[in-house]
């Protein structure tokens, strides 16, 4: 008998949060919670991916996501190689699909891809025989970031149902925002977006979220404030007049945070522009900031994803 729905996450790929159901998400987060405990031990080594090969294929520079995947793979016993754009044949003009076909011939088991074009991970997944994990495609999705955010929040709130979360800043250029909105609403949270209208998609009000342009209104009664990085490198035309005006109206500081619920928690996917979207005073306050916890959750979530896609008997 075939199951009508999947109750655990088994792949074959992780291209986005869209397409996952609640049970798959819960299975991944339950598994990740176990890896959080493992990662705090002195001996962190497992053999779940022994003999498997993980290729990190990053067409965009990344520090934390790439090293997080690398660590996750190594702790589970996989062989890990990092393909950096500068030293690869892509720099010599090879197309994405040619790169994929070449890599495929080396028989990797897991391919972690970051690319500046939306849909790049999905395209690769059609051309290779191994599991593809989207580590960020253009302004589309960054599923492991959303999962690590959810894991971090679950550790504090247990259940996210009814939790009020404001996502503030550069939503229009953000793949993190898209994945987070899908996942957090799937888990029953009330999501609000707050940004100048130039940094919000015109159709944001159709995404099942509250849309705000004023931080004080947006943060009212919020349990969590998630701050996004102002992605100046992706802005093709002037969306914001200056960083000082941006900070004045949208930079998270004590005064704006005071409109949220007492004891509200602050998240940021990193890397931060201090003094632009977030005041250092907030970012560095261990009582409110979950930013380092997010990084810790990141390794655990990626271990859970890798194990689900390539673990077990072959």
């Amino acid at each position: 008998m075939t199951k009508r729905y999947k109750d655990t996450f088994t792949g074959p790929h992780l291209l986005g949060i869209a397409g996952l159901n609640r049970l798959e998400v819960d299975s991944l987060l339950d598994s990740a919670a176990g890896y959080v405990a493992l990662n705090r031990r002195r001996d962190k080594h497992l053999d779940v991916l022994s003999g498997r090969t993980l290729v990190n294929l990053f067409f965009e520079p990344s520090t934390r996501t790439q090293s997080s995947f690398e660590l996750a793979g190594k702790r589970l016993g996989a062989d890990v190689i990092n393909m950096a754009i500068k030293s690869s044949s892509v720099a010599k003009g090879e197309t994405l699909i040619d790169t994929a076909v070449t890599l495929n011939a080396m028989h990797p088991d897991l391919l972690v891809v970051r690319h500046s074009a939306s849909g790049a991970a999905a395209l690769l997944s059609q051309k290779v025989d191994c599991a593809v994990i989207n580590a960020g495609d253009g302004a589309h999705e960054h599923p492991t970031q959303a999962l690590l955010d959810a894991l971090t929040l679950r550790a504090h709130f247990g259940d996210l149902a009814g939790c009020r979360i404001a996502i503030c800043g550069d939503v229009v250029h953000s793949r993190v925002a898209r994945s987070d909105i899908t996942l957090l609403t799937l888990m029953g949270a009330e999501v609000r977006l707050c940004a100048p209208p130039t940094l919000l998609p015109g159709s944001a009000h159709e995404w099942g979220v509250g849309v705000f342009h004023d931080m004080r209104e947006a943060l009212d009664g919020c349990d969590v404030v998630m701050v996004l990085r102002l992605q100046r490198e992706r802005m093709t035309s002037a969306c914001v007049p200056s960083t000082r005006e941006y900070f004045r109206y949208y930079g998270l500081d004590r005064a704006k945070l005071s409109h949220a619920k007492k004891g509200a928690l602050v998240m940021h996917p990193g890397p931060m522009n201090r003094g632009v979207e977030i005041d250092s005073e907030i970012a560095d306050d261990p009582k409110t900031s979950l930013i380092t916890e997010q990084v810790e959750s990141g390794v655990a979530v990626r271990m859970a994803v890798l194990a689900a896609l390539a673990g077990g008997a072959s």
Binding site: H213, S237, C239, P241, R244
Partner: protein, 427 residues
């Protein structure tokens, strides 16, 4: 505005015209501490000074939108002080200053400078408009939020149109978040390149390069379409053609948040006033055909036009005493705005209440300002004028530092007698 300690007085016997409340009749008005304290058929108070204004009209002081001076950067053209004197002599009590200056008014420090300078030097209220783009260069969004907080009441790119539609969309979208009023000068830049007067038969006969009416219509269509798509509030600054006015009229009917201004010169003059290459009649936008003027007059009567402005743009002789095509466009108008508008009444082209509305309550409401009204509690910014007094406009006698008026030598009817700002007589 803080209240001023001045002795109270009554202006008595004047025909009070206040478009904001629809009031039109003979009333006494009591002014106390810079504010209007009472309006009644007769106010009998022996202890206060009485100003007899029988036979005259008492109206709210005029509100003029996007006035240029030369301060800072070109003080030989005009200063805030000289513009204030000209305004007071013309019954104008609030000037919204164009961001077109050297340097441009494009950041909060400049907005603050104009506000403080205006308070110190000018006899009338000076409020700045902020630049839409940095340096008015048409490339980068200016700090609309911070300038608004500093006191800018609207945002404009001066006489420069925003040619880039993507930038204009971003501006309107961003301004919506700040609830800022975005003013656009409707000139399609490519179609208008090198033009010096209205394109048409007269320009052809004079051998001058034309500015086609369609260049204005296209830009108004574009900006209204963008405004409709992204929301926000749009002000179409200084319309000059009937076709573009009709675009605004239809957009208003659809509920688009658009307003528009027309300069007094475009309501009272046409392209034939260029005559024998008179550079004082070289304006931006140019004086248009008589059919356009008539269409604008109709737009005033039917309420499409929100405000009539002077378009005050002082240009001294060195910028005007040149061959027509080499001269700089622009005309002064602060001192002649009211008289020019009254000529519409004398020519039976518009009623007095309608004319006063677009000079007072119209612009005030468009900007969300509390001025432009004669109601109890309002600031006593008032003009008393003789609606019929005949005079000949002699440019050399006007108070502006620059004398470039197209009305020079024209026979006018109606003139300011007294002007009050916060209850203080300034003319």
């Amino acid at each position: 505005m803080k209240a001023r300690k001045t002795p109270p007085f009554v202006i008595s016997g004047a025909r009070v015209i206040d478009p904001s409340s629809g009031r039109d009749g003979i009333f006494d008005v009591l002014v106390k501490n810079g504010r209007i304290a009472a309006i009644d058929k007769t106010i009998a108070k022996d202890s206060v000074e009485r100003i007899d204004a029988t036979g005259l009209v008492l109206a709210p002081g005029l509100v003029d939108v996007l006035v240029k001076t030369g301060e800072p950067g070109a003080e030989q053209r005009e200063t805030l002080r000289s513009a204030g004197k000209a305004a007071a002599a013309g019954g104008v009590t609030t000037l919204v200053i164009s961001p077109q200056a050297e340097p441009a008014i494009d950041d909060p420090a400049m907005v603050d400078f104009i506000l403080r300078r205006g308070k110190k030097r000018a006899a009338v209220h000076i409020v700045p408009a902020g630049g839409l783009t940095k340096g008015l260069g048409g490339d980068t969004l200016a700090e609309i939020g911070l300038m608004g907080e500093a006191g800018a009441v609207l945002f404009s790119n001066g006489d420069q149109a925003i040619g880039n539609a993507a930038l204009m969309r971003n501006i309107l979208t961003y301004a919506k978040g700040m609830d800022a009023l975005v003013s656009t000068r409707p000139i399609e830049p490519d179609l208008s390149a090198n033009g010096v007067m209205n394109a048409g038969d007269y320009a052809s006969r004079l051998g001058l390069k034309g500015l086609p009416a369609v260049a204005e219509q296209i830009m108004v269509e574009r900006d209204i379409a963008l405004c409709e798509a992204c929301g926000g509030r749009l002000l179409v600054d200084q319309l000059s053609t009937g076709a573009a006015l009709d675009v605004v009229r239809r957009a208003k009917r659809r509920g688009v948040r658009v307003s528009c201004t027309v300069s007094i010169h475009h309501l009272t003059l046409n392209e034939l006033d260029v005559g024998d290459y008179r550079t004082f009649a070289r304006l931006s936008p140019p004086l248009r055909a008589e059919s356009d003027r008539l269409a604008l007059v109709a737009g005033l009567a039917d309420g499409t036009i929100d405000a009539v402005v002077s378009g005050h743009d002082p240009r001294p002789a060195e910028e005007k005493r040149l061959p027509f095509a080499e001269s700089t466009p622009g005309a002064i108008g602060l001192e002649t705005l009211l008289s020019g508008a009254l000529s519409l009444v004398h020519n039976d082209e518009a009623g007095l209440l309608d004319v006063m509305r677009v000079l007072t309550a119209g612009p005030a409401q468009m900007l969300g300002m509390s001025c432009g009204t004669i109601t109890v509690g309002a600031s006593a910014d008032l003009v008393v004028f003789d609606p019929d007094k005949p005079w000949v406009c002699d440019a050399s006698k006007l108070r502006s530092k620059s004398k470039n008026t197209p009305y020079d030598g024209r026979r006018m009817q109606g003139r300011t007698v007294m002007t009050f700002v916060q209850g203080v007589r300034v003319h």
